[in-house]
């Protein structure tokens, strides 16, 4: 009787253990099968020596993404270097850095912001985001913006504002997403084709890089040794901002 109970319990135990291991193995198999492998590591190299501070990138970005007032996926800061004259400031255009270790992603309570497995772009799921703004707080680079629902007073002639972001083509309304959400630079991923590729010749290229009259913004695949960005990084000295935080930004500056 006693022995029978024990063996029965042990049987159940091993069955449970087997089931657990089996489930875990199955889950990881499903994950490897369905999770896209890393195909690209999109990134930017920005040449501060070439930037003239015209802010064409800011305007191009606003037009491309139809962002509301107070939301700027890229900005141009102008700071005189210590000891330098103010007529020679350092201009710095600053999109989201799409960090390899993004602190914004970890803090999101609902997993609404995440780093895409296939190409490393950090995105926001507008339908899941609750608008707590913790990610804005956690980002060391001021790359995230809350959509307060403010609108430009002069609407475009066409009337409705439609943003192509994430290829969702949302029509702007006073209270529907992305109003009340956190927004950010997406490297204009809506311009990728179905396979996730950009095409510079066809104009499917991040708006800021495409527009820059001084050709100061280089965009490409950091994993591809033959890409323009990889070549520049081999040839010139580049820095990344706040390396000490371990965020591993995908945007480099030539100084």
């Amino acid at each position: 009787m006693e022995a029978g109970q024990v063996s029965r319990r042990e049987l159940l135990k091993s069955a449970a253990a087997g089931a657990t291991v089996g489930t875990m193995a199955a889950a990881s198999a499903v994950a490897t099968a369905t999770e896209p492998v890393r195909k690209h590591h999109w990134g930017m190299v920005i040449d501060t020596q070439r930037c003239v501070g015209c802010e064409a990138c800011v305007i191009a970005c606003k037009i491309e993404n139809q962002t509301p007032p107070g939301v700027f996926y890229t900005v141009v800061t102008r700071e005189a270097l210590p000891g330098a004259r103010n007529d020679r400031p350092v201009f710095m255009t600053k999109p989201c850095f799409h960090c390899e270790q993004p602190p914004c992603v970890d803090v999101c309570p609902v997993g609404a912001t995440y780093k895409r497995k296939s190409d490393g772009i950090v995105v926001v799921d507008y339908d899941r985001c609750i608008g707590c703004r913790y990610c804005i707080v956690a980002c060391p680079y001021g790359a995230r913006w809350f959509d307060f629902g403010d609108d430009y007073e002069l609407q475009p002639a066409a009337g409705e504002t439609i943003s192509p972001e994430y290829r969702q083509y949302r029509v702007r309304t006073p209270d529907g997403s992305p109003v009340g959400n956190v927004r950010k630079c997406t490297f204009c991923l809506h311009l990728q084709d179905e396979a996730g590729e950009y095409d510079r010749e066809a104009g499917r290229w991040p708006a800021c890089a495409k527009t820059c009259p001084a050709k100061a913004i280089f965009f490409g695949d950091l994993d591809d040794p033959d890409s323009e960005v990889s070549r520049i990084l081999r040839e010139r000295n580049a820095i990344r901002l706040k390396e000490e935080l371990g965020t591993e930004p995908s945007v480099y500056y030539l100084i």
Partner: protein, 411 residues
Amino acid sequence: MTLKRLFWTAGLVGLVPLAIGLYLRITSGHELAAYGSIVPWGLWVAQYIYFIGLSAGAFLLSSLVYVFGVKRFEPIGRLAVFTAIVTLLLALFTIWMDIGHLERFWHVFVYPNFASPMAWMIWLYTAYFLLLVVEFYLLMRRDLVVARRMGGWRGRVAAIASLGSRDDSDAGLARDMRLVKPLATIGIPLAVLFHGGVGALFGVIAARPYWHSGMYPIIFLVSALASGGALLAVASSIFQEGWREHREMIRDLGRVVLGLLLLDALFQASEIIIGLYGAEPAYVASLNLAIGGPYAWVFWVVQVGVGLIVPVVLLAAPTRRDARWVTLACAAVVVGFVGVRLNVVIPGLSVEEIRGLTTAFDDPRIRSDYFPSLFEWLVSLGIGGLGLIMFGLGEVFLPLSRHLPRPGARA
């Protein structure tokens, strides 16, 4: 009596700004708020950590009675649990107003991110809230059964609140109290974890050196205990029989608050001195804003003056023997800690993360200075008024400070 009338008046007047603020929040979302994308959290987040600290502090002090059996604090045991429930509800209401999509609060339960301190905090205080409600029901059940016999509208409310229980025997009371002890014991680690979690929510942010310290969760707990204890002293001198009946206990509570205040000051000083000596630029910039910026009066007058010096003097000087002075000192702590909470949230955010970011555009949402808008004040004051009303309703309907006489004894 006049104090109670003042109390009710303040509460009812507070409902007016709450109604206006809520209407504006529903109709215009966050458009009228003064925070932006540089200072993304403002008055409401500060108010949230203020109330949630009061809740954790009041609850942890109630464990003196229900876990450690400290008899002298027995009269405030139930008041403490009630205070913890009210302030938690106020905190949750405040932070609910603050999120961008009110209708999506439930996402945190169905789309969990186990890496997020905020997610953990929300799960933990949900468990804490459920525990509080069950514990409070057990603490009140027998008296509610007794009260329903009194008839009238109070009796009817008691009948509903007792959830149909009719057992007013001493055995039933003893059974309830046997259940309370393990519940209250589980509540201690839960309250420590969730309020430590609130501190960790700030502490983990490496991008904000002002917060990024292992001291942060600990400071949050000590501040919670100090402010929660002070609120309990104030509440027990106003409610039910008031300070005349509770002189001894209020004096004891004053001693506890004094000790906690000094411990809190020690931790804060340690944090500030280490930070200043390290001279990390972003840390020093934030601290300079707090102690020398445009709102330095919040630090010197509200936080240090009203929240620390005044109460420490009153609680250490011979005034400590008079329950009325102790109440005043504790009221000063309750007010002063508003400054403590504001100085946690805003100076940490009001520094530029990237030099030139706030001067790149002339936009009200891209500024490092922040002062709450009228809309934010309306909601804040309104929620404060709602808190007074909730305390008042508790005073009217719930026998908090003593057990009602048994029906047999009444005859």
